[in-house]
């Protein structure tokens, strides 16, 4: 940067470059230490622990692939994976469709726009235990809001929701939809970034609003949809709080999420080696899904300009 201003000799330039590099390493050192202590180090440590029998009280014992073969023969492991996949398959697409639909509506020039956007966004910052408790009261089968409303309005006796093995996961999906505000804002911002001349041209050609949405808006925001899709799949594999607070994995293991089982193994039964193997399988699943998503993007993601080297 400085070179353009003055013309220092080669030697001076080298020493400046060295000084710059030194400062780079000094400034990133907090992150580098943190990475060793809390990211890279733990990743390797959990990989190692996954090959051991470790119950905290005595030192880890190397057992090779023992934990993995035990996991693959563990019906509860497969069940927890199935529960998590079921939730992901329902929740992630529903959230994408919902968030885009609301973003499209909130892009229209209706009165009070700022207020509506705020209302739709607000719930997404609330999460955790307080919200989990709120939902467990709303879906309470006898006196909860949902069943009272169903009976009052339609004279329907609602299902048992969280206490019904068939309903518990769909109920979790409904709850998760409340927090679509973050992605919605991203879609909204990217919709507003679409050049207006495209719509003007389409309008002159007589394209309907619906046609414009599906031929201009949606294709142009596919990179953003893609980004959100990857992030929400990763997040959905980490579902824990609701299962822990509201259902404790029940009824009859119907909400026994992957992380719930991992938590049980690690901090209830203290099978740290077994839980580490579980954690690494989760990691491999997440990485695989991410790679698959990246591979698939050239079939459906539209990048204006270069296609290949954008991501």
């Amino acid at each position: 940067m400085l070179q353009s201003a003055s013309q220092p000799s080669g030697k001076r330039r080298r020493s400046l470059a060295r000084k710059e590099a030194m400062w780079f390493y000094i400034l990133i050192s907090p992150w580098a230490i943190g990475y060793l202590l809390w990211v890279g180090g733990p990743m390797l440590a959990s990989l190692y622990l996954g090959f051991t029998d470790y119950q905290v009280t005595s030192p880890p014992q190397w057992i090779g692939l023992g934990n993995y073969s035990k996991l693959f023969a563990d019906p509860l492991f497969w069940h927890s994976l199935q529960v998590t996949l079921y939730f992901t398959i329902l929740a992630v697409p529903a959230a994408v469709v919902f968030a885009i639909a609301i973003a499209l509506l909130l892009n229209e020039s209706i009165p009070g726009l700022a207020i509506w956007r705020t209302i739709y966004y607000l719930p997404s910052i609330t999460s955790g235990v307080a919200v989990a408790l709120m939902w467990s009261w709303i879906f309470e089968p006898n006196f909860g809001l949902v069943n009272l409303a169903l009976f009052d309005l339609f004279k329907i006796h609602g299902p048992q929701w969280l206490s019904d093995t068939r309903w518990v996961i769909p109920t979790f999906v409904l709850m998760s939809l409340w927090g679509f505000g973050g992605p919605m804002l991203i879609y909204l911002a990217s919709i507003q970034g679409i050049p207006s001349h495209l719509y003007e041209a389409a309008e002159l050609d007589g394209a309907t609003k619906l046609r414009q949405t599906f031929s201009i808006t949606i294709p142009l925001i596919t990179p953003v949809i893609f980004f959100n899709l990857v992030m929400s799949i990763i997040a959905s594999f980490q579902t824990f709080t609701n299962a822990f607070i509201i259902t404790q994995g029940g009824p009859n293991y119907a909400s026994y999420f992957y992380i719930y089982y991992l938590f049980q193994n690690a901090f209830v039964y203290f099978r740290m080696g077994y839980a580490s193997a579980q954690a690494w399988i989760l990691f491999l699943i997440v990485i695989t899904l991410t790679i698959l998503a990246f591979r698939s993007q050239r079939y459906w993601v539209y990048y204006e300009g270069a296609t290949e080297d954008r991501l």
């Binding site: 230490i33 509506w116 719930p123 235990v129 408790l133 992605p183 709080t241």
Partner: protein, 312 residues
């Protein structure tokens, strides 16, 4: 602060440029009528949807003001008369609010300071300085965004439990929730680096010619130019730490170090039956700081989301 470098600033604060594409095309009277019908339809859907979004909170609030006998009334009383304001002090006393809110505020503020400080320094190096291996190191930052926390969890626990370094034994203290923030989190580093890159390079060059050091450039140029992004990081950090449940659940066992999340979780177990009115009063109180922060700092939320989401 509404510089052109703050993307999305208009999303919540003003109507922005919504629907601008459609405004100029009123050359057919029929078309304008259709437009009105369409907007009316959109408005109805949006209003109904917002009612749906707010209703859970309304239900929480009415429940929190009911007498315990009225909770299980059929049909329900939508508005509790008279409102039982006493539920709030009762619930807060029961969960020992001064202690748990004090702990939560301490964790949240201390982590927020750590997150903001570490990100502003590290992101500066990644945004501006050149060094061998920088790209590889930045890839490491990005890739750690993809690693689920649970994969790092067990070794992290062993570290804080004194199984790795004998002088660190922090289980049952607030330190495991605070200290990592001071070593930079990948998400905030990424967010801020994206923002730093929008600060014009000429500003650093001018400062360099005046003999400013890197730290001076960071302090006098980058940080003042990036207040919106730093605000976004502060807000995200606040919200994440306030809502955090997994780490407190693992690290905090004794009552005197409990955070709000842990106290809420134990509410029902300690009370015996579920006192829905008190539980909702406590939960709503736990959400109030989030809502207040949201309304005070809406714009920063939006910017943060837009920066990370669009430039990802």
């Amino acid at each position: 602060m509404d510089t052109p470098t703050t993307p999305g600033a208009s999303l919540l604060t003003a109507a922005g440029t919504a629907g601008r594409a459609r405004q100029g095309v009123g050359f057919l009277r029929g078309k304008r009528f259709q437009e009105m019908v369409w907007l009316g339809f959109v408005l109805v859907v949006v209003v109904l949807g917002s009612a749906g979004m707010l209703f859970p909170i309304f239900w929480m609030a009415t429940t929190s003001l009911k007498e315990s006998g009225d909770i299980l009334l059929l049909p329900p009383k939508w508005i509790p008369i008279p409102p039982q304001w006493q539920n709030y002090p009762d619930a807060l006393d029961f969960m020992r609010a001064t202690v748990v809110f004090g702990n939560t505020i301490l964790v949240t503020i201390a982590s927020l300071i750590g997150d903001v400080c570490s990100a502003s320094v590290v992101a500066y190096a990644f945004a501006r300085l050149r060094a061998p291996g920088k790209n590889v190191l930045f890839m490491l930052v990005l890739s750690s965004l993809m690693i689920p926390y649970q994969v790092r969890l067990i070794p992290e626990y062993l570290l804080f439990a004194g199984k790795v370094l004998p002088f660190i034994n922090w289980v049952d203290t607030l330190l495991p929730l605070i200290v990592p923030a001071y070593f930079g989190s990948a998400f905030y580093i990424f967010l801020l680096r994206q923002f730093y890159q929008t600060v014009p390079l000429e500003m650093d060059d001018a400062a360099k010619i005046d003999g400013a050091s890197y730290l001076q450039i960071l302090w006098h140029i980058m940080i003042p130019m990036s207040l919106p992004a730093l605000g976004a990081i502060a807000i995200f950090s606040f919200v994440n730490n306030w809502n955090d449940f997994f780490r407190p659940l693992i690290y905090l066992t004794s009552r005197h170090v409990w955070t709000v999340a842990i106290a809420l979780r134990s509410f029902t177990a300690e009370y015996g039956a579920t006192p829905w009115n008190l539980l909702m009063a406590a939960s709503l109180t736990a959400l109030i700081p989030l809502v207040v922060v949201f309304f005070v700092a809406q714009r920063y939320f939006i910017q943060g989301i837009v920066i990370t989401g669009l430039k990802g």
